[in-house]
Structures are given as structure tokens and as C-alpha cells.
Symmetry: C2
Subunit: 237 residues, 2 copies
């Protein structure tokens, strides 16, 4: 069965967490909106006439008869199917918990450049963004990343967030580190000194054969100023 | 087995979504931080020395040997154990998807009064909050609630969000309507005209024997100016 991923074709965004899981799994999938006529297909599924349960927003994944939305929900589905999550109930809950904490961090990282409303231009909320980014860098970034560093330390020598094997939460933490480096290179340069395990995990994920092939394939959309992680020099103070 | 819920004792907050599920299930539970010495117990579990997988933030639920954090994660666990979610994989994914969309709405509702940083006082971000609330009321509130109204319409005569039985997503939608009415009474007065099914579901949840008993028991913490949903007259424009 070929999965169909539906996500905005111009950005990594939340879709990238799903792409990384599909790539690591070696799954057969098509990134629908990036193909010919793909945006029309995405928009059709967003329309409420569809008989599927309607998703609120992309990304969503078509897997046979299932249409699954919400990043953490898609990942919990893929994790179970492709060995990217523990099999035990306790393990599955733990990885989902980690993913939802990553999702919280992702919202806050996004809101540094759009603290007032996602529908307004950055230029219309620049002053507010500067204040928000300052608080994020000073308080939230160290708190979130320090938490994952601690989780890695507690999990001992495996080097993964959960148990002894790679899970989708590890892939997502890789993506967050990559995104934060793009958005806040100066802040991350300082922060990474406190994150040896997180950075080691990032590098280990990047070196996995399928992920490494994906990263160097040209298929990965580069970070840019339309996604979750955006680089504004003035916000990286 | 008695569940132990850990959450801030002064507010409904995210803990209330868990409390409603526990109440509807008729589960045996203790709201630890509201008991004698409870805050010390909550803080102990937050400390990183603990041998449990450390939660990033409350709420978390102790269920035997499991320590589960993240609201949607706790609810998916309780939903499966207490018949508050469908048994099929498709049904479980759908209810989790709805819950995660509710969680997104909850973040945005909170951020209307704290758009810059949760660590700053409202008074230090009043002007920004006014702009954020205006966008929220005009764009986001109708979009989110209109989505759930549509889901209810598509699900036909059952009156529930998913399938033919009550799920934890229905309880959560009840809570969101209640919270939004507290925070934005004027905006909701207008909005509710477009939400007959959502309001009917709200009322039906409120009338369920266990929920109704809980709401009138005095155990439910009243909405106040410290939680997710806060009422500032100037934001309800």
C-alpha cells in the first residue's frame, strides 16, 4: 500500500515530522501536493463535502481507507506500523508524551515570529515578535531542550529518548534541533554547550542510512521564511 | 486501583479535561495537589531525581506503575480503559485527532491573554493581548467551533463527535464551550447562533448524571483569572 501524504508543498513545517518517519521506515509514499495537480487534490480533501472525516488542517495521511490528521496522531499510527515506537503500552504512551511535548515546543518556536496572529504578516508584529523571541530564547528554549537532554541522560547508554531503539520522537527531536539552528543560530551556539546528548542524537539520526540519503537527495525542502522555523536576525539576539 | 491526578490545585486548566473523563467514568481517583501536603507531592514528581519517566509539566496521572503526562495522551489512555473512545483503530485515531484539534484551540485561547510570554503578567502585555484577542475572536474562534459543528453535522443523529457513543472528545468540547463562555461571553453570544449542534452537545454532556453531579458538587474549581480561560472585559470586544 502506498501512503499519500498531504501537506503544503513549499515548506517543511509539521509535514516534515511525518516525512522523516516515512523516510526512516522506507515506506512507499507520495507527497501529493508536491506532484502535478497536487494542491488541487489537497484542497479537495480539505473541502467539507468529502465523505472522509474532515481534517482541520494539514498534514494528513491517507493510509488505505484511513485519513489521519494531527502530526502526533499520524506518528503514533506510523510508529506502531513500522517499528518506530515501543510495542508495550507504557512505551507507546511515553513516546507519544515526548512527541506532544515536542509539539508544544514547535508551537512556541513558531509563535516567536507570529505572536499576535498567524494571519498577520511578520512585519505587522515585529516589535511583539522581538519581545516574544527574547523570552523564548531566555526561558523556554533552555527549559524544553534541557528536558530532552535530561530524558536522554536518564535513558542511559542507548542514546535514544525511549528504550533501546530509535523511535519517531528521536526523529522529531532531530528535526527540532535542525530547525532551531536555522532560526536561532546564535542562541543555539550557546545552548548546545549544555546539550551533548541531544546533539549526539541529532548527529546519529542524520547519519542513519535512509535519513542521510533523504537529507542529501534534494527531496528535502530547504528551511525558508514561510515555515515554522524562520530566521530573522533581529529575533536571534 | 485508585488513580492519582497531579495538577495545579487553583485552576481548572488542562487538568479539567482529565477530571471530566475521570468523573464520567466513575473512576476512583484522588486529585493529589488539592489534598493536604499535595503540592509537595506534585513538586516531588516534577523533580528530576524521580525514577519515573519525568513529565515536562502537569497534568500527569499515576495509574499503578504508569506515570502519564500530556492531556491528550492521558485521555487516550483513559478512553481505552473506560469506554470513552471507540474500540476500532480508526475510531481511536479519529477521537485522538479531534482531541488534538481541541488542544490547539486551547493554546490559542490561552495565548489571547498571554501572547508574548506565559511568564509575564497580563498587565505587561495588555496591548498585545487586545490585538491577539481581536484576531482570535474574528478568525480563529469561528473557524475552530465551525469545524466541530460540521463534524457533528456529518456524524448525523447521534449528536456525538464520533460514532454513536460519548467519547472524551465530547467531554472536552463541553469544557471548551464552557471556558469560552466565561472568557468571551459577548463573542460567544454571537457565535453560538451558528452552533446549534455544539450547544446541544454541551447541554447533553452537562446533563449526564455523573457530570451533572460533579458540576453541582462544589468540587469543580470555578473559572478564575489564573487559568486558561480568563475574562478580561477589554478582550471580549
Amino acid at each position: 500500500m502506498r501512503y499519500e501524504l498531504y501537506y503544503w508543498p513549499q515548506i517543511q513545517g509539521r509535514g516534515e515530522f511525518v516525512r522523516l518517519a516515512l523516510e526512516e521506515a522506507g515506506a512507499d509514499y507520495v507527497d501529493v501536493a508536491r506532484g502535478k495537480g497536487g494542491m488541487a487534490k489537497l484542497e479537495r480533501l480539505m473541502q467539507r463535502k468529502s465523505s472522509e472525516p474532515p481534517p482541520f488542517a494539514p498534514p494528513f495521511l491517507k493510509a488505505g481507507n484511513l485519513l489521519i490528521a494531527q502530526t502526533a496522531n499520524i506518528l503514533s499510527f506510523l510508529g506502531a506500523r513500522h517499528g518506530l515506537a515501543p510495542k508495550s503500552e507504557a512505551g507507546r504512551l511515553w513516546v507519544n508524551q515526548l512527541q506532544l511535548t515536542i509539539a508544544d515546543l514547535v508551537v512556541e518556536a513558531h509563535d516567536t515570529h507570529h505572536p499576535i496572529a498567524a494571519s498577520l504578516y511578520y512585519e505587522d508584529q515585529k516589535a511583539e515578535a522581538a519581545r516574544a523571541a527574547q523570552c523564548f530564547i531566555k526561558e523556554r528554549l533552555p527549559k524544553f531542550l534541557g528536558y530532552f537532554e535530561h530524558v536522554l541522560a536518564k535513558n542511559g547508554k542507548s542514546g535514544f529518548l525511549a528504550g533501546r531503539a530509535l523511535s519517531y520522537a528521536d526523529l522529531s527531536l532531530f528535526q527540532v534541533v535542525d530547525g532551531l539552528r536555522y532560526a536561532f543560530p546564535r542562541a543555539m551556539m550557546t545552548e548546545e554547550k549544555n546539550l551533548p546528548r541531544t546533539i549526539a542524537l541529532h548527529d546519529r539520526v542524520a547519519a542513519r542510512p535512509r535519513i542521510s540519503a533523504y537529507l542529501s537527495s534534494g527531496h528535502r525542502i530547504p528551511f525558508n521564511q514561510h515555515g515554522i522555523f524562520r530566521h530573522y536576525e533581529e529575533l536571534d539576539a
